[in-house]
Symmetry: C2
Subunit: 109 residues, 2 copies
């Protein structure tokens, strides 16, 4: 099929999976890290920073934007991208809940 079934899962599971899937690519990790690090509106600098074609970077930005991880506002001829804090906090909560669940219940084998 190739189509992920979503009807068996809670919306929380689907939501977290969606965010992690988008972050599950080194280029998008690098993009997010770069946006965080520069702490300012960066634009096409990513094309030279990461060694990918402009259209490829734009596509990755679109995916990050589509799930609300980043948001962009037009600044003249270029675009300012930054982290969407609401989505980020939601991710942080869900992910920490998952990550910390293991410590409480150590594994058995």
């Amino acid at each position: 099929m190739g189509l992920t079934r979503t009807d068996n899962y809670t919306s929380e599971q689907v939501n977290l999976a969606q965010l992690l899937k988008v972050l599950g690519h080194p280029a998008r990790i690098a993009i997010v890290q770069s946006i965080i690090r520069t702490n300012k509106c960066i634009c096409g600098d990513l094309v030279t920073e990461i060694g990918l074609a402009q259209s490829t970077i734009s596509q990755h930005l679109k995916e990050l934007k589509s799930v609300g991880i980043i948001q962009g506002t037009i600044e003249g001829t270029s675009v300012c991208y930054c982290i969407n804090v609401e989505t980020w906090d939601r991710l942080k909560l869900s992910m920490n809940e998952l990550l910390n669940a293991v410590d409480a219940n150590p594994n058995c084998c």
Copy 2:
């Protein structure tokens, strides 16, 4: 292409992306949560718990195992799966570093 280029990124970026990619599917989130929650060796219970075919569950388990998120030991006729704590701790460190980087540097737009 369809092939992710890895030569532009640090091994940390590739590694984190790999783990997040595998976790980026609701079935695998559900599987991991189930393993954590039951805190014991669960096996084919997943097939009834999650509504997917046995072969599909087996495939998801294989992917989780391939990146070291879970490990399985044979228990007679069934298999005991549990969280691989070393990988989990590595994920926790990398992910927290990324997640907490935003708080320090609030976004600009």
